[in-house]
Symmetry: C2
């Protein structure tokens, strides 16, 4: 069995999660490690010990919300008027999540700095949920993976740009997918 964790270790882990959450809001998920360390009042080594890759930290910070999104899938399916409506509502949730986290969508598509693991986590957790919704909607001419990546891609943004609203395009995409 794994030996119990030391007191200072668990304390620091909590401190780090809080600090990271705050910094992510202020400076985006790709904020400098040093900034997070400073915010937590902790050395950089400590961060790397607890969260070896950046993705580990991001996942830890957003785990709750990803979980909530995953659980919302089946729920929507049973409460919505139609499977298609459920799919649309779930996608809305997913988009909200991505858009409100500064730079999360960008990070999801990045292929550097251990962000692949972030991608993998999202996929593992939300892919099956998305798959269920697609199956129920009889929209099986697309794979969950592909739809989720497409949505993620459409959400990558460059600062604040009033001319571009990912939701409009995603709505069109779903129109095409569900046959208007």
């Amino acid at each position: 069995m794994p030996p119990r964790k030391r007191a200072d270790a668990v304390r620091n882990e909590q401190t780090l999660l809080a600090a990271a959450a705050e910094v992510f809001v202020r400076s985006g998920v790709d904020a400098p490690i040093r900034e997070i360390a400073a915010q937590a009042g902790v050395g950089m080594g400590t961060i790397y010990r607890h969260f070896p890759t950046r993705a580990d930290l991001v996942v830890a910070v957003y785990r709750h919300q990803v979980e909530a999104c995953a659980e919302a899938g089946p729920a929507l399916l049973s409460t919505s008027d139609s499977p298609a409506a459920a799919l649309r509502a779930w996608v809305d949730l997913f988009v909200d999540f991505l858009v409100t986290k500064h730079g999360l969508a960008n990070a999801l598509q990045s292929d550097s700095s251990g962000f692949e693991q972030l991608h993998a986590y999202f996929l593992d957790r939300l892919g099956p949920v998305c798959g269920e919704l697609l199956k129920a909607s009889e929209a099986e001419n697309i794979q969950p993976y592909e739809l989720m990546r497409g949505i993620g891609n459409l959400c990558v943004g460059r600062g604040d740009d009033t001319r571009y609203d990912p939701r409009r395009l995603i709505a069109l995409l779903l129109d095409g997918l569900l046959g208007t």
Copy 2:
């Protein structure tokens, strides 16, 4: 009138364009400046003097192809069976362009390192063309800007991933846009 350029300056500018083109293929459009300088056998200062921002260099390298894409718009409109077909064909061209240039789509959406100008250039040159195609297709429920950004976004890729094909999603998007 502007004084004539010195001989070594024009020579170096050509050398740089060739070197950049080669490096972009090998290492992507966000390759280190030093790598391009080395490939050209030139100091870094020289690059910055000729192309103050990264976008300037990228634009210079791909100007021909962007131009070709812009000119293809009206041409397709007059040779295709329908405006919608012309739009689809043009989008195909645009996607081909983005996908074959290693990391270009990613750079287009990046908001750092003077890449905004790259974004602006693409928009200025291709936006009106796209607008014409949209108008002819009577698909005016979307702005050229938004469609082009959406397409660009869908093309951002993380290495080679056989499970994700931007074209499938873009086809669905156009289905939704043109009413199947």
